[in-house]
């Protein structure tokens, strides 16, 4: 590809569209369109449908049950899925842990854990951040001390997304205090049912429960759950963090939300005319639309580079910064378009059969979506950290 998809890629795009049309339940898609979060059961349902088609682990090599897609195909799949308001593939097992296991895990680990990710036997979560180790991840303190056939783990992980659903957690733990702080970190797989693990919910500002604190008190972990070598975990963690971040900008999600916003702003009237015709509002929509169109081209350039054998480095940072700012602006505009109708607060809105809303359907999650997505510029390496990466890697500062 250059900046356009090839004929073969376009054909694949049609295949994805047909799949989505046939398999994605309209009710689920409608819920996602209005900013609702999919339940655990809905995420599992979607995973199972994708797995039946062989598209769940789409970027894994075929020998491990993957589809072996190149980054461009994966990008097209994710773009179309987002445009259709399908649930995202929960990344922790499929996209984060699996590539590390495939590259650094033992044969026994690959054989045991990978099929369980595919069939949904294990729901994984990620134990990276800690209260004192956010942007400065390498300063993490959760410790693992070897005692016979086990490690004894003590400490605390923070911002653990979906830990309340998880069967397993992959953790960065400190196994040595010697040398630089990056040098004493190991990568450990821990069963969430082990004695000594305590999960405490963290409620975020919009009232949702996505993240948790996970406490470890003398947790016994068998040594065969160490991935790779002891004290080399930072290398694996970095590999995981840079792996395939070519869709980190979430272009499809932004394009879909922009379309949704325009429809909603067309319906809303101000002085008898559509809100979309109001100069200030229209100017903001136009600005974000230009930025998005622009972002799409940049994303395609990065993809083309990867397709030609390049590895995305600091370009991922560029995609993350720009992509998150665009999405946040879209949620902000949506909330504003709904005006006072975005203000009513319904914690029960996620429940089945809820019909107590005020104003149009689009208003239901507009504020919640805006508040929740403040996280985009904070998580996965805050946008300030991404700018540091650009300064260092691209500018040599």
């Amino acid at each position: 590809m250059d900046l356009n998809f090839s004929a073969e890629e376009e054909a694949f795009r049609g295949e994805v569209q047909a799949f989505l049309k046939e398999k994605l339940r309209p009710e689920l898609s409608a819920k996602m369109k209005l900013g609702g979060a999919p339940s655990k059961a809905e995420m599992e349902e979607w995973h199972a449908l994708l797995n039946d088609r062989g598209w769940l682990a789409n970027h894994w090599p075929k020998e491990y049950g993957g589809a072996g897609w190149a980054p461009v195909k994966k990008f097209i799949f994710e773009l179309e899925s987002e445009l259709a308001f399908a649930p995202r593939i929960v990344p922790f097992g499929v996209s984060m842990l699996a590539p590390v296991l495939i590259k650094y895990g033992s044969d026994a680990q690959k054989k045991y854990w990978l099929p369980r990710i595919l069939d949904g036997s294990d729901w994984w979560c990620q134990g990276y951040s800690e209260p004192g180790a956010g942007s400065d991840l390498a300063s993490l303190k959760t410790s693992a001390v070897r005692e016979g056939d086990h490690y004894i783990v003590n400490g605390q992980k923070a911002w653990t997304t979906m830990a309340q659903h998880a069967d397993m957690i992959f953790c960065l733990v400190r196994t040595s205090k010697e040398g630089k702080c990056q040098e004493g970190i190991s990568f450990l797989l821990i069963d969430m049912k082990t004695a000594g693990i305590d999960v405490k919910p963290v409620i975020t500002i919009e009232g949702g429960h996505e993240v948790n604190e996970v406490f470890f008190t003398d947790v016994k972990v068998p040594i065969e759950n160490l991935v790779g070598e002891e004290n080399i975990g930072w290398t694996y963690a970095k590999y995981l963090l840079t792996y395939e971040r070519t869709n980190i900008a979430g272009i499809g999600g932004s394009i879909a939300l922009l379309g949704h916003l325009k429809q909603a702003a067309q319906k809303r009237k101000k002085h008898g005319k559509p809100l979309l015709d109001e100069p200030y509002f229209a100017a903001r929509v136009a600005r974000v639309e230009i930025a998005l169109e622009n972002m799409k081209t940049t994303n395609l350039r990065v993809l083309a580079d990867v397709a030609a054998g390049g590895a995305p480095g600091a370009e991922s940072s560029l995609l993350k910064i720009k992509g998150t700012v665009i999405y946040q602006e879209l949620t902000s505009l949506m909330r504003r378009a709904m005006g006072a109708y975005a203000a009513p607060y319904f914690p029960e809105a996620a429940d089945e059969g809820f019909n107590g809303q005020v104003g149009p359907d689009e208003a239901l999650h507009a504020a919640e979506d805006y508040f929740n997505h403040r996280k985009l510029s904070i998580f996965g390496g805050s946008n300030e950290i991404q700018r540091n990466i650009v300064s260092k890697m691209m500018l040599g500062l």
Binding site: S139, T204, I205, Y341, Y345, R374, I378, E384
Partner: protein
């Protein structure tokens, strides 16, 4: 940088002390968690009246101090810093200002009660998605020696538990203001209903459904030119007092962020040493000071009855909407993950800010007015 006359300084000092001690963010959080439709503490409301705050813009002969709107703005700013939940803007500002324009027995009877903290009066003006006080659909028709009122009023601030409501309606093609007791209006009928509406900021709001509500003749307190004048004045002053509250919230968020930058360590240093954060805080500081100036200028213009008051009030409300978004978003961003949690107070400020940004008109609504009416 604040230069205040002595009376104002004394008022500010007493407000700062009282609110920080009694009506602080922790007190608001407790009210939120209790989740009662009233959303404020009745005993504290009486205390606030005893401190003289309910009569700040009431003439002395009606129980007030006539300290003026600048003084009311100072109080509102401190309420913003503490997230104090009180029927202050609804009763002491919006309703009192209308009563002052109406004058006569209404003012002498109800002014005193408000000053003493004995009643809450709320203004029922909005009817839907945006604040459009000039496009009222609620209708009143004459019915013998009284009126029949029908319409739907939404998001009435402090409407739940209010002793009286001032309802805007169209009567014979003119704007009219009706004074009614919501309990009486809803009593024994299914035609009228006052129901709580929970908004993001967890304050007291009500929706009022009115259908053929029979009112007697003295329920009409203003009509035509008087009604227009009273409502215009009330909205003008209240939007600056609300802007002052948002300003206080923005200042508090900025102060908490500076404190965090000076405590949180990453990479072995305080994160406040990073220039990228310093410059953004410096930008926020400049915007806070600019907005402080505009809010003070608008309140002074109101107190001086200056012609520029309406224009400045709209400019202040529009300006503070941008400031509030900047201050709360930057506070959450610079606090990182912890800023996203309900446990930290920033979200409470952010949600209150977004509700107030819409209340009495959003930024575009006021910029729009400035463009149309002032040819700016």
């Amino acid at each position: 940088m604040e230069i205040l006359i002595e009376d104002h300084q004394m008022l500010l000092d007493s407000a700062t002390g009282y609110l920080a001690k009694k009506q602080n963010v922790a007190a608001f959080r407790a009210l939120r968690d209790a989740d009662e439709p009233l959303g404020y503490d009745v005993a504290a409301y009486k205390q606030m009246a005893d401190l003289g705050w309910m009569g700040l813009v009431l003439p002395e002969e009606h129980g007030g101090s006539d300290f003026g709107y600048r003084a009311a703005g100072l109080i509102a700013e401190q309420m913003g810093r503490n997230l104090t939940a009180m029927p202050f803007v609804s009763t002491a500002i919006l309703s009192v200002t209308i009563l002052r324009e109406v004058g006569g027995e209404m003012l002498s009877e109800w002014g005193m009660k408000i000053a003493m903290g004995e009643c809450v009066v709320a203004l029922a003006i909005d009817e839907g998605v945006k604040h459009r006080p000039e496009q009222i659909k609620t209708q009143a028709v004459r019915d013998g020696d009284g009126y029949l009122l029908s319409g739907d009023k939404t998001f009435i601030a402090d409407g739940m538990g209010a002793d009286r409501l001032i309802v805007s309606a169209m009567l014979e093609g003119e704007l009219a203001l009706f004074w009614l007791d919501p309990l009486e209006a809803c009593f024994g009928t299914s035609c009228c209903d006052l129901a709580p509406q929970r908004l993001l900021d967890h304050r007291n709001y009500a929706n009022f459904h009115i259908k053929n509500c029979r009112l007697n003749e003295n329920a009409l307190i203003a009509k035509g030119e008087l009604a227009e004048r009273a409502l215009t004045k009330a909205l003008c002053v209240a939007r600056v007092v609300v802007a002052a509250e948002q300003l206080g919230m923005a200042k508090e968020c900025a102060a908490r962020t500076v404190e965090y930058l000076n405590t949180r360590k990453q990479f072995g240093v305080l994160i406040g040493v990073f220039q990228t954060l310093q410059h953004r805080m410096a930008h926020l500081y400049c915007e806070l000071e600019q907005t402080s100036s505009l809010v003070a200028q608008a309140l002074n213009a109101i107190d001086e009855n200056a012609e520029t008051a309406e224009k400045l009030s709209r400019a202040a409300k529009a300006k503070v909407a941008k400031l509030g978004r900047l201050a709360t978003e930057e506070a959450v961003q610079m606090h990182g993950g912890i800023g996203m949690t309900d446990e930290l107070d920033l979200g409470l400020f952010m949600k209150r800010d977004r509700v107030l940004a819409e209340f009495l008109g959003d930024a575009n609504c006021h910029i729009d007015w400035l463009l149309r009416e002032q040819n700016i």
